[in-house]
Symmetry: C2
Subunit: 164 residues, 2 copies
DNA sequence: CGTGTACAATTGAGGGCGCAAACAACTTTA
DNA sequence: TAAAGTTGTTTGCGCCCTCAATTGTACACG
């Protein structure tokens, strides 16, 4: 933030620097989380979060498109993700009677158990990540700010580059 | 803490939910940013940040390992990333006289220009992303919290899963 | 009732990146 | 100064994911 020899206007925009750094830190943390989860429970981070999304959903099931939206993946990504979970018996397919295009991803009991087994350690990992660096007060404040940020809609991105 | 139909203790840990959501939002934003950047300037997000790291570095050059650390990539990832940038003439190789193992990544003038051309729009995109949802005050607070979070060191992850 | 459009899901191709192994060049130890 | 360890870089392999194209279904509307 102090004057620098190289004139890059990044210095004038703390939010940019902070967000960029956060993005990196998050990516690193996600990798660490994922490999830890995989070693301990045979689930990748996306596997885990897919299971969690289903567990939280009504009837423990979700349309594949909706799951994609929640995980911020493309439908094809979800197809491949679920391939693995279906093969492992953690998720089943279920059809929709009123609309044959739709396939539900349905959490199985085995899936719920696997999720439950993994959740405590995994959430502990995440909390530890934060508590390593933030006080409780900071943590609450941050959590609130993050809630604001984590909605959908990234229309702003396209505009600023003035592209087509 | 409150009673729920499905007993998942996630509800008791706002930070976990918030961070998880943030991770997704970040991933989505990064993709949007990257493709916008690519459409407008032929650079991926990592390309851009590699150039920026070099531009900020003393002598506009960095050891490949150091670049890897900054970008939170493995050395092999950096090798591949720089392949592209070298082919485009934005970065050059430079050897270290005192230690022949080391190869520097050296920003070229063309690279600096390309970075400069892209930076305004790109930073605008990032700011827009935040300003779409946060007030100025919130933004400053968040930026401060993020600075705290974005340091290295993810030792905590390994511990919480009690794995080997 | 056929036709055009919208939507859900899948498939093939390709890119980015990590992991592990290999290699080169230092450094340490003896 | 030979042997063993450390560090920087690259390469082979494979995973995960996106993009574009395809198929199958639903719902217009003339």
């Amino acid at each position: 933030m102090r004057p620098q020899a190289f004139t890059r206007h990044t210095a004038a925009r703390p939010a940019v620097r902070a967000w960029t750094a956060l993005l990196r830190a998050n990516a690193g943390a996600a990798r660490a989380l994922s490999s830890s989860l995989e070693a301990a429970h045979g689930l990748t981070l996306n596997d885990y979060e897919a299971l969690q999304s289903l567990a939280d959903a009504e009837g423990r099931r979700l349309k594949r498109v909706d799951l994609a939206r929640r995980l911020v993946l493309t439908p094809s990504g979800v197809t491949r993700l679920l391939e693995g979970l279906e093969a492992a018996g953690l998720v089943e397919r279920a059809t929709c009677e009123s609309d044959l295009r739709i396939t539900y991803a349905q959490l199985t009991d085995a899936g719920a158990e696997r999720l439950e087994a993994a959740s405590c350690g995994h959430e502990g990992s995440i909390c530890a990540l934060f508590e390593e660096r933030l006080s409780d007060d900071e943590l609450v404040a941050l959590a609130e700010a993050l809630e604001l940020l984590s909605g959908p809609g990234d229309a702003a991105v396209a505009r600023a580059n003035g592209f087509g």
